[in-house]
Amino acid sequence: MNTQYKINKLDTSGVGPLVDRHWRELREAKEKGMKIAWCAGPMFVYAYATPNIASHFMAGYAAYCGGRGMADEVLEAAERYGELRDTCSYHRLHTGMAAMIMNDWPVSNPQVLLPMPDLLIGGRFCTEMSHYMEAIHRRFGIKAVTIEIPSARSREDLPRLEKFLTDQVKETLIPAIEEVSGSKFDEENMRSILRPWKETCIIRNKCWEFFKLKPSPWTLWDYGVSIAPVFYAMGKPESLEYYNNLLKQLEERTEKNIPAVHPDGEKYRLYWDGWLPWSFLGKFIRMMIPYGAIPIAGRYPWEFFPHPEDINTEADDIIHEWIRLIYTSPNTLSYHDGPWGGQEHIEDLIQTYSIDGMLFFSSNSKYRKKIRHTRDCH
């Protein structure tokens, strides 16, 4: 008889209020006399660590719009401005929002109109990240700092790429932040954010350990939804609280033998490559569940600083320390995120999490990680 599988999601409802608070604070920032930075890519942390700058993580805006049922309206505004459909949807969402503001177009939910920034920080991790900054700069004349963050082809390249990025940040980005904020960049403030953030990531990693269990008590989707606190509430107590709560749930489930898939756990453990399709998480899991299949691991969710133990929050050169995490630290984000290191990273995830099958997700409007890691089969 065929087993009727059912998903048993973890309680991730704590994310909502935390994320809402982020957006509310952003909307109210100008009234409080703060400056605003729109940031794409991992260089956001320097603006985030500047007390009188409120940071908008551009990658989160798609989920924000989607959550308010406004994605279509904002994308239509982009097209009305002239944006072409083949561009990345993050690009179009921001330029669409900007077009609405610029032209005073009516909007059904004004909450999607964020305050316009004083500074644009494009960490060119994905090259597209600089394109939307450039477009907004051209249209509004807002100061834009775009920083090249190359993905490494080999581990040998990491030290010099790290130096290159550090030099760019010190030479170009930090002075721009100082100019906009009107004060000297406070390294101690950055440390004070990284300390609790490190603690949070350590708890989050404990949660990851549960993915190794068979059956797994949670799915990659549960974790995907839980990514937000490490960014939106970086270094804030509520972020730590969120992961502690998650850990407790996982411990309880394990103790009581409650798997993520009813009745007796997953049949297939899947690796998911590519970004998580935030608006379609439910749709995808409903497709997988009848087969007893669930996503367990993926490169993208593992990008965000999986080795917190390695972060030296007391480093003298804390500006460089953040960049070290991207290059020469065990995390080596810039290597794992590119095609070469990606292959190595995927192989490791497959082993560690006992993966049975792989799904490569790529779409026209999200460019990163489009290649298939194929070897010659001819």
Partner: protein, 379 residues
């Protein structure tokens, strides 16, 4: 003149055979370079032939096992050619990251048909002319020089490098002369011929190309410049690939004449010289940071492509702009709306044509071009 044109046509008609034949005859090494920023001069100074990788004329087949259909044409085509083994006559390949897609190609090539020599340059786009980017670029060029020395077994001295820069500068200045002649005498050459002249420069030894260009220019001078009548248009965009020759014919058949362009297999390729100095690597680095013609892949915020185009069109007294957009090219896709707005505000007629690899629908393009032709002054 016809005889000279025949030679320009040879390489672009079948680059695979022509280059392999050249290699066979000279016993020299061929290095394929991915468009658009690799300094060919360093490869030439190593005694090898740099050839700019091109979009083939074949439908993509095996390539789709590695890249999705919504990658740009050069990307798909190079991957397809490489995995099929069609590029095996190349002794080496040099890649770069000018956009996300170009970063993926070397990985696929390496995993399938690795060439004997391969290098990947992390060439930064222009960012505010900062010292960090300049120092880093200089080091990247030095690294390429060293790797080529190891591969070729020959030292690339500053003298050799300067000789190569001189040779390439000469080629560029001859091509610019040809373009200047076309600006002054619209229609002196067919669009397809101009394209093949530039394209052949990307494929054949510059020594030969310079000779051919000199003969062509002197022939033209001898015979006088025959102009043609038509609406003057400027071609813009078409990053990394050459547009279909039929497309250029169609433009002319509809009574328009291309008077200038900023396309890659066009002015963009030969716009900027490197200086001759006692620091040739430094000179190549400085050339890399020249901001014009505006390159949308460069992340540059201080210059504006739309404004640059307006200036050019006004100077040429052209009737409009035909934008050729390499389909699925994010740098151009993201820039285009602002160009359109700038041109509309300046009252300059413009039409957008997407250039794909094999699925180009000439009929629908014809309709668009016809209405554009009517817009700039009916027939």
């Amino acid at each position: 003149m016809e005889e000279i044109m025949k030679q320009f046509v040879e390489y672009p008609s079948d680059p695979y055979t022509s280059i392999a034949k050249w290699k066979e005859n000279t016993k020299k090494k061929v290095i394929g370079i991915f468009p658009m920023w690799i300094p060919e001069e360093i490869i030439h100074a190593a005694g090898m032939l740099p050839v700019v990788m091109w979009r083939s004329n074949e439908a993509i087949t095996w390539g789709y096992a590695h890249v999705p259909p919504y990658n740009c044409a050069i990307n798909k085509s190079v991957v397809d050619d490489a995995v099929k083994g069609k590029l095996k006559f190349m002794d080496g390949m040099v890649f770069l990251r000018q956009c996300l897609q170009s970063q993926e190609v070397p990985f696929i090539v390496e995993n399938n048909r690795p060439p004997a020599f391969e290098e990947y340059l992390y060439l930064p786009p222009i960012y505010h002319g900062d010292k960090a980017s300049k120092d880093f670029t200089r080091d990247e060029f030095k690294r390429l020089r060293k790797r080529l020395e190891e591969f070729g077994g020959e030292k690339i001295t500053d003298e050799k490098l300067n000789e190569s820069i001189k040779l390439y500068n000469k080629n560029r200045s001859l091509l610019r002369k040809l373009y200047d002649l076309r600006k002054e005498n619209p229609g002196i050459l067919r669009g397809r011929d101009v394209l093949r002249i530039v394209w052949s420069s990307m494929l054949m030894p510059k020594e030969e190309h310079n000779k051919l260009l000199e003969s062509l220019l002197s022939e033209m001078e001898k015979n006088g410049y025959k102009t043609a009548k038509g609406k003057k248009v400027f071609l813009s965009g078409c990053l990394c690939i050459h547009p279909q020759l039929e497309l250029l014919d169609m433009i002319e058949d509809l009574g328009m004449l291309v008077v200038d362009d900023d396309i890659y297999v066009g002015y963009r390729y030969f716009a900027n010289d490197a200086e001759i100095t006692d620091d040739p690597i430094g000179a190549l680095m400085e050339r890399h940071f020249i901001k014009t013609p505006v390159d949308p892949a460069r992340g540059e915020v201080e210059v504006n492509w739309g404004k640059e185009l307006i200036g050019k069109v006004k100077k040429l007294n052209a009737d409009g702009i035909i934008t050729l957009l390499t389909k699925y090219c994010p740098p151009h896709l993201c820039y285009y709306p602002d160009i359109k707005v700038e041109l509309a505000n300046a009252g300059i007629p413009e039409v957008l044509i997407e250039v794909e690899h094999e699925v180009i629908s000439l009929e629908s393009i014809k309709t668009r071009l016809q209405s554009f032709r009517e817009m700039i002054g009916g027939r």
